[in-house]
Subunit: 219 residues, 2 copies
Amino acid sequence: MKPRKPNDLLFEQVARVGKAVASPKRLELLDLLSQGEKTVETLANDASIDVKLASAHLKVLKEARLVEARREGRFINYSLSGSDVANLWLNLRAVAEKHLVELRVALELMSSAPERLTAESRASLLEKARLGEVIVIDVRPEVEYHAGHLPFARSMPLSEIERRLAELPPGKEIVAYCRGPFCLMSDEAVGLLRKKGFRAQKITDGVAEWAADGLPIEA
Amino acid sequence: MKPRKPNDLLFEQVARVGKAVASPKRLELLDLLSQGEKTVETLANDASIDVKLASAHLKVLKEARLVEARREGRFINYSLSGSDVANLWLNLRAVAEKHLVELRVALELMSSAPERLTAESRASLLEKARLGEVIVIDVRPEVEYHAGHLPFARSMPLSEIERRLAELPPGKEIVAYCRGPFCLMSDEAVGLLRKKGFRAQKITDGVAEWAADGLPIEA
DNA sequence: CCAACATTCTAAAGATGATTAGAATGTAAC
DNA sequence: GTTACATTCTAATCATCTTTAGAATGTTGG
């Protein structure tokens, strides 16, 4: 029952990576891990799954060498094995988005602001942020902000926005971002800010999309 | 039993693509299809599997929208849905090769000439081929050559080399290529040519690797 | 050393995937 | 229309993956 063709072995090895990305839960874990390293419990909470199940999926990802485990006291921190893994996730997502109508439809239904940034608009946003013409806020949990964030962005986690509205200059355009196009936190933030009378917008980029475009990430 | 988290839907759609690339046989089919469109029978032969099984795998790939079927008389021709699909395959392979030692070991055991081309050496090979300093031969079946080949390459299918040795200038360096790093035809060609007294070398690039680097493909 | 806790391992259930053989479909050539 | 042929569909079997619960592991802080 061993493979007969000599190069069967090779395809089997690549299929290890393929199998690792064949589960929606594991893709969600990869998406979360591209925000920075996280413990099993954090990952389980963020993905709304049982810790045991998260652990099992992480084991599969670890066996495919897509993630690495690092013990820190009682906790184990998982992280992506490299930026190429984050890019593989982006690549997979891009292919799915290009060819699967269902995904595009679901994305449009889900997000209030479906506009994506092109390379130029990324650069121009960066420039406007640098000049202070817009306020860029990172609405992810603060740990993720500290693991890496867009240049000139300030941390304003979704759960704290209502308490911290005073920090935002009233007239200025506010641009919110979160974990990427599959994350809804920036939509919620924009909805909340607009209700409070701010001019707010979202971008679908997260740090992974930003970095994959060659733009800088601050830590 | 419906998905509770709103973005579960999104990850599930991307996982459709993930599942499609989770099988070694399907990866081999994608590799073959990145050489150009092929019929089910050709694919089955090239991958050394039963036609019915090839058809079943192609169905999965088609449902994930990675390949397209085009009827032509009694035959059905399958092709990749786009160059992004070929690039996804290259991306997956690159991630596997970077992180899985087993794959690197298997590749080294398998190939006599494990050297890969960097961007510069690709350009310099192109230049040498243009100047006629080296003879580049495409040892794949002729149909694949006609579907697209490296610039300045001439078709010399592995099965015909022995009969057509007279076409090759004796003193000159010969560079053979085939379907890519997982294909052994260029290794065989080099072994054969050297035995006949030629100076022969292989490159691991195929047309997909060449094109992904932004270099031109002739058809 | 003991208790608390994060994580993994084991075992078992159901769900899904791979593979094969035989029947069915649809097109082309006569 | 009938025949030949490439491909797909159906059904059945076996293997693998997913998920859950309970037991086990390993580390920290007393």
